[in-house]
Amino acid sequence: MSNHKSTPHDDSRGFWSRCVFSTDHKVIAKQYLSLALFWALLGGATAYLIRWQLAHPDTEAPGWGYIAPDVYNALITMHGTIMVFFVAMPILLAAFGNYLIPLMIGARDMAFPRLNMLSFWVFFLASAVLIASFFVPGGPAAAGWTGYPPLSAKMEYTGVGWGMNLWLVALALEFASFLLGGVNFLTTTMNMRAPGMSFFRLPLIVWMQLTAAVIFMLSVGPLIAGAVMLLMDRILGTTFYLPEGGGEPLLWQHLFWFFGHPEVYVILLPGLGIVLEVISVFSRKPVFAYRAIIYATIIAGFLSFIVWAHHQYVSGLDPRLAMPFSITTIIISVPFAFVVFAIIATLWRSSIQFATPMLFAVGSLSVFIFGGLTGIFNGSAPLDIYLHDTYFVVAHFHYTLFSVVFFGGFAGIYFWFPKMFGRMMNEALGKIHFWLTFVFFNAVFIPMHLVGLRGMVRRIANPMQYEFLKPLEPLNMFITLAAILLLISQIIFVINFFWSLVRGKAAERNPWQANTLEWTTDSPPPHENFATAPMVYRGPYEYSSPETSEDWLPQDRPLSTSRAAR
């Protein structure tokens, strides 16, 4: 609420309320980003240990030691949980959403700044709980990031006690945090847009954040209920998921995937949003079919609620239900194909500048196409009988997730870094970072499809225990080598990030000559964002418009002859 009476520049708050318990959306965004990048290090470390074990089973992983099978299970569980809930969500939704929404719609802050702060601290608490779960007796959760009961419902099945309970608590807190965030995103955009900022003048990333927030808020409820039930099974001895007490193990799978599938689009959409923004700016062209993209993603959002059982074709689901879900699943390629085609059409007759953000955005798109297409294989019910729970699925979801979380996320970080921190990142290092990441990423995950097609199942600590998998050893070693190189390549990013933070070239207001409102204020923007309230005259992508001689036309620049396009 903007009952702050201070003017934007007079910032007399003390250190604690400015940097730690801040209600400023920009500070909160940076807090999310920092915490998520810290988690990314842990997520990467778990990936390293997983890969080491798969290539050299039962040897000592350098820097860690011997990985026992139950530790391996804990590692994959933590890897999946960390990457999806503590890296992807906070970077793509919380960090970029918080940072960009108020700036892009021309507001001074979120609608509920204190709620916003609360949601970060709830997330912080969730992080602390998850970290704590590493150190309790019995170790952290080890039932996979999907936590299927009965395995997850009784201590005797895994030997994990409080680790599993804390995992559930951490997830519940995380969901609460993102629900609060979602309320804020939606209310802010609905009520606090600058004059002239109609819904169809919003940058696409704002639309994507909103659609993602709605999808999240409508799908997560049943899983919250499900998590409460699982926790009750573990602590109070109820039998929701335990057949010996009349319960139903498959219930959890339905609740989990009713959320789980929409969730992957919750992650995808903001990532696509970043790609759209960046591609438009660096190709100096309007996004092709702006409105139709919005409609396509909303349609995909609807469809995402009726595809969940494609994770359960062989779970014991009534076989007659498989084909309906298979049909909806494969049809969902239509809206996404539209978005992909539209992005490619945007590049037609454009004027492309390959700055680092653009490289990552294009990389994200090209990788996403691959990952989306392998989704079609999984989506075919009869084929998924074979593919389910093999590395083909693992390869599929790394292609999609890595595409949006890291390629998309890096594109966003390189692109908005000057705005966030007032300094440019180093271009040369950025380009090297891109090419190494792109090459090693594909080197890790293309062979993973082959490993999967040969029948290697997921979540096994030692493929050498299986006669029919022994011939895959060289391929697994290759994947691991590439994964280690992929991880090492990220050091370039870390160096670039911290070096630029301190030493980077000072950034102008609008280094990329972009149109959206965040570029019209200082880099970094002052508290409360805008010195004077922006007035919006047109849509966000008026690049190379015939109305001016420059190839860009900011949303807030009045033109004498303005018949405000779109």
Binding site: P69, N73, A143, G144, Y148, P150, L151, Y157, G159, P243, P249, L250, S283, R284, K285, P286, F288, A289, A292, V314, S315, G316, M323, I330, I331, S333, A337, A345, L347, W348, R349, S350, S351, I352, F354, V362, L365, S366, I369, F370, L373, F377, S380, P382, L383, I385, Y386, D389, T390, L453, R454, V457, R458, R459, A461, N462, Q465, Y466, F468, S544
Partner: protein
């Protein structure tokens, strides 16, 4: 490319593989098309001094049509994939052909426990035969397996037969297969089931009719009855 999969030894495995290649050709086409056009545009429309990007918003219907036509093709291909898939699904998971042999399989941490009804054809009688991790079947006969689990969810996976089905506690799920080639094949557990999940692995022995008869004879004469 033919060695992407393990050798197929079941009657329906070929259909599954065919679906794979069908989708593979469709998606490979789109992959090459989209990535190809993308790459072409990236090279063709690099920034050059003096050239300005075209102002194309893609809002009008005749501009949109450029995308809607390929989109319609995507839609049609999607349906085609589904129609072909539906047949294969019905064949594998629909009405099973009458069984020649019925076996019970129980998943438990961390073994597959197989039970044969014995000569009387009934479970729960004295001539039942129980074995851990070995499943013996004759070639070219329809085998029904009744799956369940004693503790957590396991998954009964026969990679060479393109068959997978979760074994869920509290439920009995019936699957069938007909092996076409004698040999020994793996039965890995495909669902995370605890610290022994890795290594929970049985063996399917597909015998020639003679060998199978010999095996049956040996088993049930040794065990009395």
């Amino acid at each position: 490319m033919s060695n992407w999969f393990p050798e197929n030894v079941s009657t329906f495995g070929g259909d599954v593989d065919a679906i794979f290649y069908f989708i593979y050709y469709i998606t490979a086409f789109w992959f090459v098309l989209t990535e190809g056009v993308l790459l072409y545009f990236l090279l063709r429309y690099r920034r050059r001094p003096g050239r300005r990007a075209a102002y194309v918003t893609g809002d009008s219907l005749n501009q949109l049509a450029v995308l809607l036509i390929p989109l319609a093709i995507v839609f049609v291909l999607d349906l085609w994939i589904d129609f072909r898939g539906a047949e294969v699904w019905a064949k594998i998971k629909g009405q099973a052909p009458p069984s020649d042999i019925v076996v019970r399989a129980v998943g438990k941490q961390f073994n597959w426990e197989f039970t044969y009804p014995g000569p009387d054809g009934e479970f729960g009688t004295a001539d039942d035969l129980q074995m851990n991790n070995s499943l013996h079947v004759p070639v070219n006969k329809v085998v029904h397996v009744t799956l369940t689990s004693q503790d957590v969810i396991h998954s009964f996976f026969l990679p060479h037969l393109r068959l997978k089905q979760d074994a869920v506690p509290g439920r009995e799920i019936r699957v069938w297969f007909e092996a076409t080639k004698p040999g020994e094949y793996a039965i890995p557990c495909a669902e995370l089931c605890g610290f022994g999940h890795s290594g929970m692995n049985g063996t399917l022995y597909v015998h020639t009719p003679e060998n199978y008869a010999a095996w049956v004879k040996e088993r049930w004469t040794k065990n009395g009855s």
